[in-house]
Structure formats: C-alpha cells, structure tokens
C-alpha cells in the first residue's frame, strides 16, 4: 500500500535503526500536519469570513446583490483549507529535528539521534519503542475569533436591505409611498379614469423617482413624490367631479322615469308629452356621457327614447338601466375613496342621486309635476323634486333649505338660528370693575371694621390692574441696575487700569 510521506524526499529518515522509529517520526509529523493545517485554516478562514462579510455588505449596499449570489463566498472557506495545508507543510520540521525531539522526550541520551547517523550495534536492543509526544494547541482564541467572523458574515448577509441602504447612506427608502401611488395609478387605470398609456407614463415616472431617490437630498425626492401624488389625485378629483355630474343626471332621469311609470294616469296628454320629451333629452344626454348605459337598453327602447314615446315596460327598463349605471358610478367613487385619492371626500352618499337617493320614492312625482305644470317646466320640476334628497324631514317635492348640521349633511344656504340668551335675573354676582384706589392705597389703608355687605364701588372709574401697569417700553437692554456712587470708583478703576 502506498503511503503519503510528510517528509522532504531528499532526507532519509535513518540509515540503520528499526522502522518503529520511522513510524513514530511519521506519526508525529502527521499529527503536527493535521494540527497546523487546522490552525492555519482557522486563521485564514477567520480572515476570509471578515473579508467576505465586508465585501457582501458593500455589494448589498451599492449594487443590491442578492443574498444567494453572495453565498458563493462559502467556497472560499474550503479553498483556504488548501492554502492552510500548504502553509502547514512548509512549517513542518525535518526528520532530524523530529528525531532529536523524540530522543529528548524519551530520554534516549543521544542514542536515537545517533541511530540516524551511525549503526548502533548492540545498543539497538537497549533502545526500545519511543513514545510520540502529544501536541497541545491553545485554540480558544482562534475559535473565538472564528465564531466572531462567522457571526459577522451572518449579520452582513441577513441584515435587512433598508439597514444596508442606511449604512451606505445613499438611497432614501420611499417604497411605502411609491406603493401607495402605484396602487392609486392602478385604481385610476381600472376605473378607466386614465388611459393605459397615461398610467404607463405615470408608472415610469414613479419608478424613475424611486430609483433616483437619494438620501443626501431627501427634500427633492419628497417634492417629486408629492408632485406625482398630486397629479394622480387631481385626475381622481376630476373623475369624481365628472361622476357627480353624471350621477345627478342619472338620478333625475331615473326619478322622472319612475314617476312616469307610477303615475302616468294623473297627467294630461300635454304634460305627458312634455315629460316624455324631457326624459328623452335626459336619456340622450346620459347615454352620450355613459356608453355602458346604452348597452343596457334594447334597440326598441333606444328608438322609443329618441321618439319620446316610451311605454310602461320600456320605462321600467330605462329605470333599471339608470339604477345599474348609478350603482356602477357609486362603486367607482367607493374605489377612489378607498385609494385615498378623494381628499374632497365626495362620496356616493353626498351626491345627488347617490347611494342614499336610490331609496327615494318617486311615485309622487307625477302629482308634483301636475301641480307645478303652470309654474315651471318639467325639467325644473324634476330638479326641484330631486333637491329634497336624503332628508327624511323634507317631504319629496318640497324645497327644504338648509341641512341638518355636520359635515356633508346639507347645504350652506340655511339661515343661522340662535337660542335665547342666558337669563341674568337669578345670577348672584355680577361682574363689576373695582376703582383704582382700592388697590393702590391698600398698603397705606387702615382697618376700620369688618362688614358683610358688598364693597362700595365708585362708578365711572376702572382699576388699574397688574404690576406692569406703570411699565414703559424699554430701550433694548434688560439690565437696568443703577450704578451707585460707591461702585463708580470700582468701575473707573477697572477701565483706567490700561
């Protein structure tokens, strides 16, 4: 069997002594090689780990290298083992030195050393087996440093990216704000408030902004983000305002359709024709603004709308289509509210014909139209009918001014109402100003007696309150202490000493 020799090839182990000593020398060298390799590997691996950690941290901070790629550094720990073995081999003593070591350790008195140079003759029998000395390595410090370096690498690899960015001090973390804006852009795209091209353009702008976010100048980044957020919000506000107009338009048309459906028999032919004509105008306007509405109506109904001659079935179909369109608009508004873009807080409830208006009973509209036929047109009457929306105290058809109070619950044109002032008749004490003499002369006053009655008040004069009553405006210096004559000498002396 071939064995690996740890000894230099040009150096004979011995020339005459037994192989037992050769084996002892080999064994010692093997043990020393293992120990030195381990020691050097530990040292090199420690250095490698510290270096690896620094490089990993730098790469993560600068070019955001993923952790998986950085894990390849573990190969280096294995690679340094080769270097450690090479270094250990270089440090190995030669066979002569090991022989002399074994001689010393076993008290051979030079016989074993001589065995490598001279035949021992009869002395070989006296030179028995030698014990290979044990090696001792105080490795606590090395292992401690290794553990420290491994911990350092672990921290460098596992440290969250925002802390790494923070360490680098270069980028500003705007991911949360960017996510919010991206979600808002997506909502606008889904709601078809902005076109896909416009949404793409906004997204590109946002990405560029995040990429260029710099920690050295955060104000610039935040300004740009605010500008983008405002642009998105403005688009949403415009959409909300547009939806409000549509909602009102749909609400009026729905009210009229339901009114006609419920009480067409109460109206005369002329009023009916005018109402049908008004409905036709409203519906054509609504369909022009809302393409989905037309798709919900049959061809016959659309023709009837154009002609202004809708039967009860068609009126019902129109009312249903209008109701569905309103619901869609409500959903769109809800989405915009949820995305945080509707800062004006215009919601479906606050709009005319909004979610709350769907519960209104429009069966009385026919009578209202008939009653006001001479006073106003059908369109105005429908508008006035719808103005009483959402208010339970205001009966349909009545123009109820004012709201119920609170934000978003009524108009601002309501008259202000006041309750009566508090009654002073039963008040025990009334506010009165004391004359100035009663305070100023207090220190010089003399007690002449005690009385339970109220003090006498001199009318027409007011007390001069407060300690600073006599104070005048200063000249800018707070320290106004007078320099007394005895101090003047000291001051003069101070300034004359030069």
């Amino acid at each position: 069997m071939k064995t690996t020799s740890f000894l230099p090839t040009n150096e004979p182990l011995m020339n005459s002594a037994g192989t037992g000593h050769d084996q002892s020398i080999q064994l010692f060298l093997r043990k020393l090689t293992v120990l030195l390799t381990l020691k050097h590997w530990l040292m090199l691996a420690t250095l490698w780990c510290f270096g690896w950690g620094v490089v990993a941290l730098s790469l993560r901070a600068t070019v955001a290298t993923p952790r998986k790629q950085l894990l390849f550094g573990v190969i280096g720990i294995l690679a340094v083992a080769i270097a450690a073995f090479w270094k250990a081999r270089k440090q190995l003593p030669n066979a002569t030195a090991v022989r002399s070591l074994l001689d010393r350790q076993n008290d051979c008195g030079g016989l074993m050393m001589t065995a490598g140079e001279q035949p021992l003759g009869n002395w070989e029998n006296k030179l028995g087996e030698v014990n290979v000395p044990r090696l001792r390595w105080r490795s606590a410090r090395a292992w401690g440093l290794m553990a420290l370096s491994v911990g350092f690498v672990a921290i460098c690899l596992l440290l969250p990216v925002q802390y790494v960015s923070g360490l680098a001090g270069r980028s500003l973390n705007v991911s949360k704000e960017a996510e919010t804006i991206a979600a808002q852009i997506e909502t606008l795209k889904e709601s078809q408030i902005v076109t896909e091209a416009k949404a793409e353009e906004l997204n590109n702008k946002l990405d560029q902004l995040v990429a260029e976010a710099a920690g050295e100048d955060p104000a610039k980044t935040w300004e740009a983000l605010d500008h983008l957020a405002n642009s998105v919000e403005k688009a949403a506000q415009d959409a909300v305002a547009n939806a409000a107009g549509k909602q009102e338009q749909l609400d009026k048309a729905e009210a009229l359709a339901e009114g006609l459906m419920a009480g067409s028999d109460q109206m005369d032919a002329q009023l009916m024709t005018e109402a049908m004509q008004t409905l036709s105008t409203m519906m054509q306007g609504a369909m022009a603004n809302n393409e989905a509405l037309a798709s919900q109506l049959s061809q016959e109904t659309q023709e009837a709308i154009k002609n202004g001659s809708l039967n009860s079935e068609q009126l019902k179909e129109v009312a249903n289509a209008l109701s569905q369109s309103k619901q869609k608009l409500n959903q769109q508004l809800s989405k915009l509210n949820q995305s945080g873009m509707n800062r004006g807080n215009i919601n479906s409830n606050s709009l005319k014909g909004g979610a709350s208006a769907s519960k209104r009973d429009n069966s009385g509209l026919s009578k209202f139209l008939k009653d006001n036929a001479q006073k106003m047109s059908v369109a105005d009457a429908v508008g006035q009918w719808c103005n009483g929306n959402g208010d339970q105290d205001c009966p349909p058809g009545q123009n109820c001014p004012g709201g119920k109070g609170g934000v978003g619950r009524g108009r601002a044109d309501a008259a202000m109402t006041w309750t009566e002032g508090s009654d002073e008749n039963n008040a025990k004490f009334k506010e009165k100003a004391l004359p100035p003499g009663s305070v100023a002369g207090l220190q010089d006053s003399q007690l002449i007696g005690l009385s339970a009655s109220a003090p006498e008040v001199q009318k027409g004069s007011l007390a001069a309150h407060g300690a600073l009553n006599q104070a005048t405006k200063g000249g800018g210096s707070a320290y106004t202490q007078t320099v007394l004559p005895k101090h003047k000498g000291a001051v003069k002396k101070y300034f004359d000493r030069k």
Partner: protein, 342 residues
C-alpha cells in the same frame, strides 16, 4: 562503517570512572556534583578554575585527585612577587667536573601532570601570562627552546572571590583557557558533622587504589570515541552563538546584559565536556542533557557582562540558566500557541 562504542567497550571505562568518583566521594565528603564535574574536566583534558573561600577543600580535592590518578602533583602558591621563572623554570650557569660552565635548564613546577595554582589571581599579569602557552600548547618556550610538558597536563587553579585588594583579575585570554570555572561552596550541617566525627584534624583517608597510567590512557581513549550526534553539536553551536548580543537566537537577557559572548573555544570545550559527562553517565553518545549539565561551568567565566548587569544584580549563572530554558534544543520552531507535551 565505524560503529559507536559498544557496551563491552565502554563498560570497563564506566566502571573505572565510577570507582574514581566513589573514591573521591569517600575521601572528600559532600561534594559529589563537584567531583563529577572535576572528573569531567580531567577526562576532557581541560584546565579547571576553582573559585571558593579558603578552607572549603579546593587544595585537598586537587591533591586527592592527583593521588588517585597516579599523577605527579605540584602546588604553587601565587603571590604578587612570583616571577614567571618561578613557575616555568630558568637557566642557571652551572659548572661541571671539568671546570667548564654552561647554562643548564632547571625545570619549574609547571613540569608536572597536575599543577595546583593556588590563589592564581594574586600573581602579577606577567606571571599569569607565563601560563598561557603551557595551558594551551602544553609546552614551555624559554630562550628559544620549546619543551613539552608531561602528558597529561592539567592546571587546577584556585582563586578567592573575596579579599580582592592586591589581586590581579585574570585576563579574558587566561580565563578562556580554563575549561571550567567551578564554584566550591560551603558544606551543609550533615557533611560538616560527618567530617568532624570521622576525620581527626581533618586528615582525609588515603585512596584505596591508584589508577595506573595505562588505565588512564584507556579511559582517555574511550572518551575520545564518545559520539556527538549532529543535532547535539548543532545545539552546542547555537548555544554558544546565542551568547552574543547580535546573534539571531540571542535572548532579550543576552541583548541587555552581555557585552561579549563566548569564544569558539567555548564551543569546543562544551562539546568535549559533554562527551566526558555522557561517559560518566554510562552512555556512548551525547544527549542534550549532557550539554545542559556542562553549559554553566563552561560559559560562566566566558561571558563578559556589561554595567547594566552589575547594576541589576544579574550574574552569568542566571543568564545561562535563562538561555538554556528559553532555547529549544531541537531547533523546531512551532507557533507560539502550539506546545509539545511529554
């Protein structure tokens, strides 16, 4: 291929060395380690400087060693007025029976096997220098003629670390020629009690045997064959080199306190001494522990410390001990947090 000393070759030498040591320990009580190092020095054929207070047994040790090894022993008491000729010898105009006169050489006390230079630091530098050639070359040159000293030749000098007034500290060149500088300390209570109770008037017993010249030569021959492995010789070299402040392996202490490090002669001396020490330990090869055992006696008198060391109270022994503990013998360099357990 030449083999190392085999057990049957080394065992007689070990036996003889142990017998010498046993005799020394028997005659001079309580100095076993010192005896071992002195014998190490003798086997290494080196000179030894003994430093200690009067009366601690320096002269007795040398005399006993001379008796035991069967060596000729001479003692010279060094004084400030001692002249080189008093040690080396001199030429004297001498007349023969024919009435002719000629300069005849009268050998000095240096012509011996074992010379005890007592209180060597009391002689003048001129006289101290007279020993340089004798110690290094083991020969004496006078009036152009060189005379070999007897073989073996050892100088065992003594010096008193106190009473330095009127003394001449040994120059570095002289110190470097001593293989060892050994400190002879006082005896403990047990040893003193044993001396008092067994030695009347302090007279030491005579050695039970004397080593013959052949036995001594055989001992030296065995010592010469003790094998020094390459990693150990490398360790010796590194150790000596590390005593120099500009050496890469110099410790902070060496850089701070050492002005001049040990010489190459120190490395040679350490290797030889380690061989002898291994032989006394009964081994044919030198181990790291042998080097460590002789490092301090070899190096302590060879390091020249600076003034900062004197101010901080740091001596050579402390520095060598720290150097030995901080330097890895094998030269294996491991990371700081890796250790080898036994």
């Amino acid at each position: 291929m030449q083999t190392i000393l085999q057990p049957e070759e080394i065992n007689p030498a070990i036996d003889l060395a142990n017998r010498i040591l046993t005799q020394l320990d028997r005659i001079l009580l309580g100095r076993a380690d010192l005896h071992r190092l002195v014998l190490t020095g003798i086997l290494s054929r080196g000179h030894i400087l003994l430093e200690g207070l009067p009366g601690v047994g320096k002269t007795a040790l040398v005399k006993t060693l001379g008796d035991l090894l069967g060596l000729q022993f001479k003692r010279v008491q060094f004084t400030p007025d001692l002249m080189p000729s008093d040690i080396l010898g001199s030429h004297i105009l001498q007349g023969d029976g024919d009435g002719r006169r000629a300069m005849e050489f009268h050998a000095g006390p240096v012509f011996t096997n074992l010379l005890l230079a007592d209180e060597i630091n009391r002689a003048s530098p001129k006289t101290q220098s007279a020993l340089l050639e004798a110690m290094q070359e083991r020969s004496v040159t006078l009036l152009g003629s060189t005379r070999k000293l007897p073989d073996p030749f050892f100088v065992l000098a003594s010096q008193n670390p106190i009473e330095l007034e009127g003394t001449y500290p040994l120059p570095e060149a002289q110190l470097d020629r001593f293989l060892f500088k050994l400190n002879v300390g006082g005896s403990d209570v047990e040893t003193l009690d044993q001396i008092i109770s067994t030695r009347r008037r302090g007279e030491a017993p005579q050695p039970e045997f004397v080593v013959s010249a052949d036995e001594l030569r055989g001992l030296f021959a065995v010592m010469d064959r003790v094998y020094l492995p390459k990693p150990v010789s490398r360790y010796v070299s590194r150790l000596v080199a590390a005593t120099h402040a500009d050496s890469p392996e110099a410790t902070d202490d060496v850089k701070t306190y050492v002005a001049y490090g040990a010489s190459p002669r120190a490395a040679i001396a350490m290797a030889e001494a380690a061989r002898a020490f291994a032989l006394l330990a009964g081994r044919p090869t030198v181990g790291f522990e042998d080097v460590k055992a002789v490092a301090a006696p070899v190096l302590n008198h060879r390091l020249v410390l600076n003034y900062k060391a004197k101010f901080d109270g740091v001596n050579a022994h402390d520095l060598i001990a720290r150097l030995l503990s901080q330097m890895d013998e094998t030269g294996i360099k491991l990371p700081r947090d890796v250790e080898i357990e036994k």
